[in-house]
């Protein structure tokens, strides 16, 4: 556990929205100016492998990069408005049921799952 990793983890823990690698780098450098881009990528890969964070695309509304958020107890769906760009989250029992069905019907042991939906939010579909 190094100072650089501590800074990156701190940023992930306190983030209020989904961050991409570049944003994460900038924020981590405010806590420890020595943090390098490659350390960010290396740490993200590590956290991903440990299952501590989730990687998102958010429907690539901005660019081709990835976004990250820490994994919480409860999985959630991400919805991205194709017009205003707003990202919404939604927890659903039906989603849990669906995953249960996949595990059972396909005999597939789920490690990670990602449901992203693109469309128009209530404000934008008026």
């Amino acid at each position: 556990m190094t100072g650089q990793r501590r800074a990156i983890l701190r940023v992930m823990e306190t983030a209020t929205k989904h961050l991409d690698a570049a944003q994460l780098l900038r924020k981590a450098q405010k806590l420890d100016a020595s943090v390098d881009r490659s350390t960010v990528y290396r740490t993200l890969k590590l956290l991903k492998r440990q299952g501590l964070i989730d990687e998102l695309d958010l429907m690539h509304i901005h660019g081709e990069g990835h976004y990250y958020e820490r994994k919480l107890n409860r999985d959630h769906i991400h919805m991205a408005c194709l017009r205003c760009g707003k990202i919404m989250e939604f927890v659903s029992d039906i989603f849990e049921k669906l995953k249960g069905q996949v595990e059972k019907d396909c005999r597939f042991r789920i490690v990670v799952s990602r449901l992203e939906i693109g469309g128009y939010c209530s404000a934008c579909s008026k």
Copy 2:
């Protein structure tokens, strides 16, 4: 409608598995040697916007690129085995129900949705 686009479309239509941009380029060039990488990307963007193809990550099992498949009537889930790399598809009524719930409960008009699951297939979890 140009010869290049025809070649790209033909490849998409006859593909038996998910192709990334580089594979699509190679296959399209076998039909029309003049097809350029940028035309592939431009055509993919077009087809994506028209809702004729879906873009997938397949959990980034190989590299950071995207995969493409033509959109069929019925949406399906993609499962990627983290050990053997096999990609499986699964159609589920519960998935349809989940999307209905999102549209209703969140007043969100769904245009495109993508559910990807990473884990271990039946053969690999033995």
